[in-house]
Symmetry: C2
Amino acid sequence: MEALAEKLQELLSRQRWDELKTFLSQKNPMDLAGVLPSLPATEYALFFRLLEKSKAVEVFENLELEDQQKLLLGFRDEQVRDLVEHMSPDDRAYLLDELPARVAKRLVQMLSPAERQATSLLLGYKEHTAGRIMTPEYISLKTYLQVKEAFNKIRRIGLDKETVYYCYVIDEQRRLLGIVSLKDLVLADPEAKIGDIMHLDAVFVHTDDDQEDVVRQIKKYDLLAIPVVDREDRLVGIITHDDIMDIMEEETTEDIYRLGAVPVPEQSYFKARMFTVASHRVGWLLVLLLTNTLTGSIIMEQNVLLQSVVALAAFVPLLIGSGGNIGSQTSTVMVRGLALREVTFQNAFKLLLREVGIGLILGAFLGVMVVFWAHWLQGSWLVALAVGCSLVLISTMATFFGGLLPLIFVRLGIDPAVVSAPFISTMVDVLGVFVYFKIAGWILSGGASAPPL
Amino acid sequence: MEALAEKLQELLSRQRWDELKTFLSQKNPMDLAGVLPSLPATEYALFFRLLEKSKAVEVFENLELEDQQKLLLGFRDEQVRDLVEHMSPDDRAYLLDELPARVAKRLVQMLSPAERQATSLLLGYKEHTAGRIMTPEYISLKTYLQVKEAFNKIRRIGLDKETVYYCYVIDEQRRLLGIVSLKDLVLADPEAKIGDIMHLDAVFVHTDDDQEDVVRQIKKYDLLAIPVVDREDRLVGIITHDDIMDIMEEETTEDIYRLGAVPVPEQSYFKARMFTVASHRVGWLLVLLLTNTLTGSIIMEQNVLLQSVVALAAFVPLLIGSGGNIGSQTSTVMVRGLALREVTFQNAFKLLLREVGIGLILGAFLGVMVVFWAHWLQGSWLVALAVGCSLVLISTMATFFGGLLPLIFVRLGIDPAVVSAPFISTMVDVLGVFVYFKIAGWILSGGASAPPL
């Protein structure tokens, strides 16, 4: 990548325009999109003028949003119009959505009527729905066409590489009847009727379906693209596999951030200002701080017990740490299982019981070890026993809540990934400290008929 | 899905074989694969006999591994041979890999020589490499062919739907020269030479490249498939977009599990036995237990201080909890940034400094709040001051280690996702408790020239 950037700069500084033009024409547009932002801003416009138009658009579509915006500001009106006019409607809708309203409006006014209509159609759907991410560019065929006539239509339209591999068969009301792949057309008799070779079991989504459902359908049926229909079952667009991969990545980042108790940022996290990031993250931390008021109060109430057996304090980090870890293991597995539909409402109860069983096994094993460890660390068997018993109970509770909470959240329509490690840890902190001091109080104050220490 | 299963059972119980055959032929193979496992085992073989062969293979390929194995055991030899012979080589390699060695060997011996060779080629590459996940089924063309001759070849071979959309142009030594898409062929003059219309800038991977790199290339260039070459640059196979989506999902699950300190299981987590799961998870917990020996010892050493100011114990959960949360927010963002290549060795140092800055901002803000909160909870300004100061320091340390450790791990060739929330929390526990008691000791024992309480 750096070699490419250097070569570009060298050709530019030597003002070899023809050589540069040939060089650019041989390069992959994705690679060019990768190095352009590292060049000085004054050279951007120059490069775009040297690229042939269709390639310029492809490079532009593959730039980061911020670089697209920077570029648009540096261009003359007709250049801007050219680029934006030829972008695919879904990429354009995404760009317009992120631009300041004033700039976006001016750009939309520059577009041709057809492109303007395509854009406003997409912008009319809610974010993260199939309607918003689809492209209205696809090839539609009628049942009465012959295969060779279909080829003529494809040659005449010659759409983008992503959208050409399936053709959609529709009736007079634009309702979806079936699908013909380019492979079907190639392998078919040129005289055959489209209606006779089309597949009837077309998988499709609705405009207001969530993009996660779209991903699931495309993955399940191994599709290159999926058609999108409106409420009257009319075909309005398609979503292609390359957009699906971007969405999968975006959804993964969201899940991972939620599980780490990091709010999902509007723009790339690494580009936001430091204070913005801090202010985003502080919300969760304040909630956790409030919860700790409970934990603190519970410990404060036990000050008589603590004063006589200071050693008890030494095991608080171990107990709440282990509880948090065991709980977040369970919630991680549950949240991921829900996302992959491995956990369903049919098997949820069984899996929850299983987790509690695992918590009991882990607690019993670790509890026995901890009794000896705690005795070695501070010398009292009674304190050690209190620590061990608490660990068994805390481990079991941690798996119970780590398993239950994601299920409750899904039921309430909340993303279960908010049951993050910090969330579970904090909850188990309160319960753990409470359980520990109750058990310690009972064992040490003679509940087990023995003197304190 | 349940409706489909019921309908199947009904047709079966009424022994309507012809009706069932027609019904099955209209259904999507993915849907059939979804419901078959819920039927009684005795009916499996029956269904497969009623499906036409190519569809039976497609249904079989889309079953879960365990269901595939169950089915194979229930079939007669020629049925097994038929199914396995017609599977695509990559799916077959995956199945054979998971079967008991004895069964796998018997199956390989049943295969035709060509299929046996294709399978052992794939099994010769390491797991998670491009060579292992590729399929050797693709269409290769020579430069001197005309477009219409290429069409004849495609029609003659008529490969799987996933592998037909790109054709690969090779020389006499099978070295990859370029790529022609089916769309290029459709739009080209039938008399044109392949060598004149092929794209020269073919993106490819090597057989021993990691599957994550394959995903990155396919995503970056929006490809439907990517060619795989060996060390002598000879074309040996291709990897298609549908396999890429499966790998993306698998890699995501691994990352999420690691971040939750859950070991990545061999088989689906929900199918493993309870004791197996517990024994897998216990490893991490033991490491964390050992670390807590340090935390416990530090607190034990402070027993004189603790006995005179028991209130100090009340803030241990708050401090180590907040430290863990702040640290895991940072490590989550870093680990994800590394996975998406947003964090590189060029910007790592800057981003680490930024995180420490964010930690300082968060610590300062929360620290001031905590001073008042801690005073309200227990009444001593000195204890409150110790808690506040500790929080500033712990927050800064947590972001520093949360940011630094993933970078160090990447440098050492270890998956940075092992820097999980539990990992960071436990590390910050030790440091946090140490810092807290040092500061408290200094402030309360007159270091700040004031009486203890």
